[in-house]
Point group: C2
Chain length 380, copies 2
């Protein structure tokens, strides 16, 4: 595709190193992009936390991931991290932003080269202000067809990808269900628990804290160390073992999933996914082949006895074919070519501009958090 | 001074409108600079909250001050506010930043015109990282000779200034002491209370909340509505009345004051200041003429009986001569001329670079807050 030698800056999030030892999906994807592009012959500079490891050029202003040392001032190091990338923007032909909306406000102020932003999700309504403003300056990629804001133009859907070689395939179905991620109602840990209990199958949970009240009230009381086990936050090897030894991953989200990186990690191990039929999951899980799409807990419970009969090789093959790093790199290379050709996003259509004039609180399913509505944003 | 027509961008903080109705010293100073420069014939654009009022060009991305509607997402609107200023940077010959360290990280990434940053204070140790990085891009002004970091070069000391016409002069000394500002140990509300009680003089307190625990434990129990009165957060007129009717303003800080805007507001009303002998205050209060500099509570108590004999006209005259907006504008115009001449700050000396290599926690008196020390910044 002729992008060999292209000088690419990849801006990673800095909550964790890239790649992360355990949890850290944005850092993982940024690393997979940087490393995949490097292998394709691009000249890649990765902006990431100082304890990252990358065979290309690594630039760090923060010594370790912000979540690894809570005493680090996240506001200061986030600003310095993004600022450093844009300070050096003239060193690159293209910048690929994996750090949410804030870099857009820097890009608006710089004559940086074409910028492509992967929107990993909308955390709360007011960040739409930044995405709508940034649309004049950055191309956007969505991580599923489902996760698109009607007011934004997207260059492409660029599904996340994993390196299948990093996941240990197991042909034999395990005898437990598992849940992997973070404790937040949208991830449905409580539903995974209910499904496992009603199906009479053991559940192993590996997750990092996020919504403490949710964990305390709906998850912690169910943990008994036997039927419902909590493994804490697992790192690479334990994570692999947990996934490959499972009967299935339960991913019954309560809000449309944006992508769901753990689902392809599970399938890479041969482990099918019991998934909510919403958001990105119908694009990722092949119903009846690599798992089941379920409309609710009842349906999920009914599917549990069928999980062992699924062909685990089909799960692995599905990831290799559609959700490998190499496929993701192909998709991004296509997007890079278009971004380099266009340089700047085209003017939005009247329809897009109209779609931006909505009450940002009118789509609660789009956001991780729904904070109170300000009186002064004109939605009254 | 030949800067007529200079295209000046003034970047204000957005916690409050500019000017603020009550508390809001950074917004007040930014407004005073913008308005003063406009009157001197500069072509001024003020970036400030949407409910600001300014006779020049006002640019706002946030509808009201962030503190006026806590539901506003401060992170988003701060980034958009700063980003908008630097997006339009090419419209200006000079940008004057009154919004702390964050704009420096944008400036590093842009080819904006010369940038001058007024350092209104160091909130906590890690923001030094931003000031040290930003020193390559922005000129710095301190607001007193005392408030200087040894690792930074400063173009000038530019004392804050008020418009004496906005403060109601009273020749007759009042019969109460007053405290004005925010509830934080560094501002010494508890010392003002102790001094007033021991001196047997009534105290009136007008302040906004900041350190809630401090207020609850050391201030609130002392409020009795008589000897110690709490007026809440006062706005323009009530503030004027409070200051001009007082015997003195008590400003017994526990940490070196950076400037102390309320001290010149008090003196503009003819009201002397009972001030801690540290930080900027010896540069602002003329001991025995416009107030007293005190080494501690005992000394302050001893000075209370002398306050009524001070010449309140001397207080007013002192502000008119040294701390008026016009004097501040003169100082900034000098600084602008030098910044425009130099374009970029000169390389720091070896001595300055050495001075930056200190444990940022080794100067606790420099900061408003001393958070825990990260393990990974190399100070171990």
């Amino acid at each position: 595709m002729g992008l060999q030698g292209l000088r690419l800056g990849v801006l990673a999030a800095i909550s964790w190193p890239a790649p992360p030892a355990g949890y850290g999906p944005w850092e993982q994807v940024a690393f997979n992009v940087a490393e995949g592009m490097r292998r394709r012959g691009l000249d890649v500079t990765l902006f990431a936390a100082g304890d990252s490891r990358f065979d290309g050029r690594l630039v760090s202003v923060v010594p370790v991931g912000l979540n690894e040392d809570p005493a680090l001032n996240g506001e200061v190091f986030t600003a310095l991290h993004i600022g450093e990338c844009f300070r050096r923007a003239h060193e690159f032909d293209l910048i690929h932003n994996h750090f949410d909306w804030k870099p857009l406000t820097y890009a608006l102020a710089s004559d940086a080269p074409p910028l492509l932003t992967t929107i990993h999700g909308f955390s709360s309504p007011q960040i739409l202000a930044a995405y709508y403003a940034g649309a004049a300056r950055s191309f956007y990629c969505s991580i599923s067809n489902a996760d698109r804001d009607p007011g934004l133009d997207y260059l492409a859907t660029t599904y996340n990808g994993v390196d299948p070689a990093e996941f240990q395939f197991s042909e034999r179905p395990g005898d437990y269900l598992c849940f992997l991620g973070r404790f937040h109602p949208e991830k449905g840990t409580h539903l995974a628990i209910e499904i496992a209990k009603r199906a009479g199958v053991r559940l192993k949970i590996a997750a990092i804290p996020q919504d403490e009240a949710y964990f305390r009230e709906l998850v912690a009381p169910q943990i008994d160390g036997d039927r419902v086990q909590f493994l804490g936050a697992v790192e690479r090897e334990a994570r692999n073992e947990l996934l490959s030894g499972a009967l299935a991953l339960v991913h019954m989200t309560t809000r449309p999933e944006r992508f769901g990186l753990t689902t392809i990690e599970a399938m890479a191990c041969g482990t099918p996914v019991l998934a909510a039929r919403m958001g990105s999951l119908p694009e990722i899980v092949v119903d009846g082949v690599t798992g089941y799409l379920c409309d609710g807990v009842d349906e999920a419970v009914a599917k549990v006895p069928l999980l062992a009969s699924l062909d685990r090789r089909a799960c692995r093959a599905h990831v290799e074919k559609h959700f490998s790093v190499e496929r993701m790199i192909d998709r991004y290379l296509d997007a890079y070519v278009r971004a380099l050709d266009l340089r700047l996003p085209p003017q939005p259509s009247e329809a897009k501009l109209r779609a931006r004039r909505h009450d940002w609180w009118d789509r609660p399913m789009a956001y991780t958090e729904i904070p109170p509505r300000p009186k002064n944003l004109g939605f009254a």
